[in-house]
Symmetry: none
Subunit: 135 residues, 2 copies
């Protein structure tokens, strides 16, 4: 089931799309579509921003890229990367500080399927409480 980073079947393989795929493959962490556009221009300088959006949407539908919560922008991140650098947030309600943790727990895919017919792709967990310093 390895959703390898590639274009979906049935679409044409153009230099523009290949440039975007290559840029995603070379990127780590999360990035905006505009940043991706810049990077992909190294491979195909005539690449337009609209085409970048269209290709990102293709990859998203194909599972190669993930939408992320951002600061007003639609951030996106390579799926493999998403599974690697997985982390959650510990938010201190006293000082407002945010810490990251790799501790993770979530309902299983099987459970979500059975109870809700829902196929999970990603999750976000924010834990609120009191941090060490404020305790």
């Amino acid at each position: 089931m390895a959703a390898r980073l590639s274009l979906p079947d049935g679409v044409r393989s153009t230099t523009q799309r290949l440039a975007v795929v290559r840029a995603v493959a070379e990127s780590s962490g999360s990035f905006t579509v505009a940043e991706l556009h810049d990077r992909a221009r190294k491979f195909e300088p005539r690449l337009g921003l609209a085409t970048t959006y269209r290709t990102v949407e293709l990859l998203r539908a194909n599972g190669g890229v993930h939408p992320l919560l951002g600061e007003g922008h639609a951030y996106v991140r390579c799926r493999a990367e998403h599974e690697a650098g997985h982390h959650h947030h510990l938010v201190c309600t006293s000082c407002g500080g945010v810490e990251e943790t790799e501790l993770c727990a979530a309902p299983t895919e099987a459970e979500l399927q059975r109870r809700h017919g829902f196929r999970p792709a990603a999750h976000e967990l924010d834990i609120y409480g009191t941090c060490r310093r404020c305790a």
Copy 2:
């Protein structure tokens, strides 16, 4: 501890802000800032959209409201629901729909204490994926 739905300390309590807080308190599920603006106008018809945005930002910083990954819109939702029935959200990245679930999992308090010295009080889990209808 109970993060009651209220304005942060140090800010002035105006009828506009109170109208927004009241509208959030009465809302369930997710909503856009524009929808919130409409609802809050019942209490304060002269309320402006910009002020609604400003107040939502106050509440967000204060933990009263939570941004969700939506269809390009910034969804927010009331966090006071925690006191009623504990539940989490299944957000469909295809149609933007939000479903509630009682399925719940989170790192244990013991683990959080040991690894981070963090004392958890509440948590939020948003699961993103594909809903039954969009599958």
